[in-house]
Structure formats: structure tokens, C-alpha cells
Amino acid sequence: MVEMINGAVDVEFQGVTKRFGDIRAVDNIDLEVSSGAFVSLLGPSGCGKTTSLRLIAGFEQPSAGDVRIGGASVVGVPPYKRPINMVFQNYSLFPHFTVADNIGFGLRQLKPRLSKSEITARVGEMLELVRLQGFEERRTWELSGGQQQRVALARALINRPTVLLLDEPLAALDRKLRQDMQIELQTLQRDVGITFVLVTHDQEEALSMSDTIYLMNEGRIIQMGGARDLYDEPINRYVADFVGKTNFFDGEVAEIKPNGAAIRLANGRVLYGRNPRGGVPLNRNAGGAIAVRPELIHIVKANGSACLTTDVQTTARVKNRIFLGEQTEYLVMAEGFGDILVLASKHAETVSGGFSPGDVVSIGWEDSSALALENTSKGDHSTAVPVPK
């Protein structure tokens, strides 16, 4: 059913707002999901991502703006008339049906009716696709979480929808299974060529699976882009904080440079950071922060044989060490900087021999690894601000 026209848009929001009483769950959002894409709506709970998904599915109608599917407005169109299927957060499998009857449910609703043999054949295909052959007559509540999840996927995909919506589909699975399902979902999406819209609060999930991520907060879209864009070029402090881990050094903007800014910390030290792509340049004498990812900070033994040649250098004392397997996370305390998170790769650990709490170390980073961001941002979520009306 889906035609892979380059540039074709499957879902479009034009200035969509959804109010529940005084609360704007979704606040004047524009978005475009192109055909065949894997798009994630990412954000903390209450950011409006699920409401956006429900607006696409038709469970909610917009208070203002236009929701378009395949180019046509679907405002007022009930869910059962939309060429869209959803994988629900708790799967919502019908407990009184077998696995096969659950998967065939959508096909049985079609008019004109499909023949029994065709439905059986297509259910069989789907069971094969999600590797559940032989489970036809099982009851859904007899299945494990991962199996239920695959039934829910099959039940939605069998209808060959224009868009498949996934509402936190992996939240109920344990870590190992979740990672397997992430790969499975990605492969599946490429194989069937159906547009996927995923809602998740798990940034790792969004980063690893999707082509495009909409990072949302308080009903608005804060930043849209690929995984690398969000991780490497966060346009403000909120994004940098939400996506991955980041060290922030707060201060005042001391100097505006062509591609960045210099920020003076409380201890008088001046740090340089570049502007993120698509970010707003800082104003002189305003507050600002330098953001550095923990894995971009080098850590070596102080006064040891290995010397740091980085733009920024300081000594610090190791406060805590967490072994993460492929990496080791250090929390170090540097005079004038405060606590700094440093991620050392396995390779670096082998070279340095690792550090213990109490050790004095040298840490440092290149100016090009640092970003100059606004000190605070509208997307700041650390304090629960009521949504402005």
C-alpha cells in the first residue's frame, strides 16, 4: 500500500495544539514524517509525545491546527477509518482471542470481507515474520512479554498501514530483550518499508533506532534531527542534558567569537566553546555554560609519564569510580570546576592502569570538544514549571 516516493510525507502536523482543560499537552507543533522513515518522539513523561501519537491515531482530536495523513486532513476522522495501526504500551492484546485471532482481527473488519483462507494465509505470513510459528492457538496471556510484543507488532503490521505507531513498545521488557527487540524493530522496518513513529522516554532507544528524532518538552518540539545532531549539536542546555550525559560549567559570556564564545567561570578561568549547529549565538555579558561530554575528557595520572597536551587542563581528585564494562565512569573533583564526570574507554584504562578514589589525576579536553550554550533554557526541565497558558 505504501509507495516509497522520495519526499512524500505520510504524517504532517500544522500548528497542532491539544488542550486538556487548562493544560496544553501539545502546544503549536509542526512536524513532518516522510514516507518510509523511522521517527521518534522523545521526551520526559508529560512532554506531549503520547498525546501527539494519539492525535495521529485519532484517539484525540486537535484543539487547533491540522493533522494530515498522506496529504489529506484527518481532523474529525475516527481511528477506525485511518490507515494507521498502533502497538500499545501494554500491547492491549484481546485476552479472549487466540494469538491467530488477535493477529487477524484487523483483516476481519475489512469490507468487502476477505476469505477465511486468505486471512489464515496472511496470519501465517505474519507469524513467520515475527517468528511465532506454532503459537497460533495459544492464548495471549500464556506468552512471555517479548512474545506478546511480537503478537502486537504482527497484529498491527498485517494491515499494511501507512504508518505504524509504537507507544513505548519496549518499556515492559528487560534490558537484554529490549536490545534484541531494538535491532529486530529496525530490521523489520527496513524489510516492510512502513513508516514508523515511535514514542519513547528512553533516549538510548531513540538514538539507536530512528532516522529522525523530535525531542519534546512541555508540549513543544525543542530540537529535531538525527541521532548525531542531537548528541553532537544540542541546540540548548535542555537537549544536551536530556540526550546523553554532559558536564556543564556555568559562568558569564566573556567574549563572542566567530563560531563560539568564551565563558568566564566563577574562579576567573575562561573556557572556550563552539556554537552548536542550529543553535542561537550567545549574548555578551549574559549567562552561559560550557558543555563537555564525559567521553571527550582525557584522564591521566598527575605528574605521570603520560602528559596531557589538550587546550584545557586541570588537576583533580577521583571521588568515585563506576565500572560499566566497556567503559569506566569517574567522578572527579577539580578545584574551581566542581564535580566532573569522565568516561574512560577500556583502551585508555589499559594504558593508564585505572584510578582509585583519592588518586590525583590530570584531566583535560580540546576546545573543539566543548559547546557554548545558554546558561538556562526554556526547555529546562529540572524544575517542574507549570505549562504557560
Binding site: P78, Y80, N90, Y91, L93, F94, P95, A172
Partner: protein, 275 residues
């Protein structure tokens, strides 16, 4: 403590056990027991007056149960969407219908029906003049069924609504998402989910209607239901026949009640279990 409990249970169930035992009496008198015969059973079930009363009771209970179940289920589905003060009013009215003593329902229904009939019957007579009073409204099956349906419907509403509230709402959304129209969703998802509650509502309505004496006594008019028959026959003295009727009614009621309980408890496991 145990002794007290035993005494209470003995007091509660002793007489009932005795009635069951005495229904197998071989003698002629209700007060003295001679073991053991089913002769009173055959005698009882050959009593045409009794059988007529039994059939009346079955007809009334069956119709009441069907009407109460259909209307009660529809009402509970509709009430789901009613919110706020209106909902409170409906809830209160539902509970009141159950709380009100049978004697009040009996008298109230009788007075109301007689008043309405007095107004309507002359009208009907004028509109369709006929010899005799063939068209006139009167007390009978209809009035008993109406009165019974009134309060058993409230019972069905409460039972079915509890089930609806326990139902996973996202199942309905899932169904709508999978192209099922609202009616198709009701048929394929909602109804199968609430079916046990509907069934147990039906059985309870049947039992309540079948056992009811007070309301029927007021509004049955010339019709005799089984409890009314028993009441009348007791006034002529208790015979082993009475014991037989009591035992039979007990057996039927208990079977229905246990079935209803069983249905209510057999909940389909919820979807979305973690594995």
C-alpha cells in the same frame, strides 16, 4: 469462640437441613418423620395448582431476567459516559432501587399501576369499544414483571458496571485502531469481556424474581406464583408438600447463585502481563 460459631451455623442452617430431610418423609404428617420416601415429590408434582404456580413463576422470572439484563447492561454501558453530578444522581437512584424494602416497592407499584390503569382503561374502552373488558389493563404477569424488572435491573447495572470498570479501556482503543466500527467493537471486544457479568446478572435477576413473595403478593392480581401458593398453602397447615416445594426452590436457587458467583469470578487474565 468455635462453639459460638457452631451454634450460629446450627441455628442458621439446621432448619433448612430439616426441611430438606422432611421432604423425604414417608409419613403423612409434617411434624413426624418416617424414613424415607420420595412419594411426596411425585404427589407434589402432580398437583396441577402447584404446577400452574410454578409455571407462572418461571415465566415471570424468565421474562424479568431477560428484560433486566438487556436494559441493565445497556444502562451500565451508557452510564460509563455520564460524569459528574448526573452520574451521582444515577448511582444514588440505582442503589435506592436495591435498598428500598420489597414491601414499599410492592405497595408503590400497586398504587401507581392501579392509578394509571384507572386513567387509561376508560380511554382504551373509548378508542377500541368492545364487548366485555378484553382490552382493559389489569394486574397480572405484566405488573409483576414490571415491578421485578425495576429492582433486578439495578442489580444488573451494579454487577455489569463493576466489570466494565475493571476492563482495560485500551482494548477498545486497540479495536478501533484495527478498523472495527463502534458496533463491531462492542460485539467483538466489549461484550465478550463483560459477558460473565451479564450472565451472572441474568441468573441473579432470575433468582430474585423467582423467590420474591412480597412484591408479587401486592401486584400479581389474580395470578399465583410459587411463593404465593406456598404462603396460601401454609395457612391450611404445613404438609410434607411444603417441604418438597421448599427443597426444590432451594436447590434451584442455590444452583443459580453458585453459577452466578462462578461466572463473576472467572475473569479472563488481563492482557499485557510481563514475561
Amino acid at each position: 469462640m468455635r462453639l459460638y460459631a457452631a451454634a450460629v451455623y446450627l441455628f442458621l442452617y439446621g432448619p433448612i437441613a430439616l426441611i430438606v430431610l422432611f421432604s423425604f418423609n414417608a409419613g403423612r404428617h409434617a411434624a413426624s418423620f418416617e424414613c424415607c420416601a420420595t412419594s411426596w415429590y411425585s404427589l407434589t408434582f402432580n398437583n396441577t395448582f402447584l404446577i400452574e404456580a410454578l409455571l407462572n413463576s418461571l415465566l415471570i422470572a424468565g421474562t424479568t431476567a431477560v428484560l433486566a439484563t438487556i436494559m441493565g447492561t445497556m444502562a451500565s454501558l451508557a452510564l460509563q459516559r455520564v460524569k459528574g453530578v448526573l452520574r451521582l444522581v444515577f448511582d444514588a437512584l440505582t442503589y435506592i432501587a436495591i435498598i428500598i424494602p420489597g414491601i414499599v416497592i410492592g405497595i408503590a407499584t400497586l398504587v401507581a399501576l392501579v392509578t394509571v390503569f384507572d386513567i387509561l382503561n376508560p380511554l382504551i374502552a373509548k378508542l377500541w369499544p368492545s364487548d366485555g373488558n378484553a382490552m382493559a389493563l389489569g394486574l397480572g404477569y405484566g405488573s409483576v414483571i414490571a415491578a421485578h424488572t425495576l429492582f433486578t435491573m439495578a442489580l444488573v447495572i451494579i454487577i455489569v458496571r463493576a466489570r466494565i470498570q475493571g476492563m482495560d479501556r485500551s482494548l477498545i482503543e486497540a479495536s478501533a485502531d484495527l478498523y472495527a466500527t463502534p458496533w463491531a467493537t462492542f460485539r467483538q471486544v466489549t461484550f465478550p469481556q463483560i459477558f460473565p457479568a451479564v450472565m451472572s446478572g441474568f441468573l441473579l435477576s432470575f433468582t430474585f424474581s423467582f423467590d420474591d413473595f412480597i412484591i408479587a403478593f401486592f401486584v400479581a392480581g389474580p395470578k399465583t406464583t410459587l411463593p404465593i401458593y406456598v404462603f396460601a398453602s401454609i395457612r391450611r397447615g404445613i404438609t410434607p408438600e411444603t417441604n418438597v416445594i421448599a427443597t426444590t426452590v432451594l436447590a434451584v436457587s442455590l444452583t443459580l447463585l453458585i453459577t452466578a458467583q462462578f461466572l463473576l469470578r472467572s475473569r479472563a487474565p488481563k492482557a499485557g502481563g510481563k514475561g
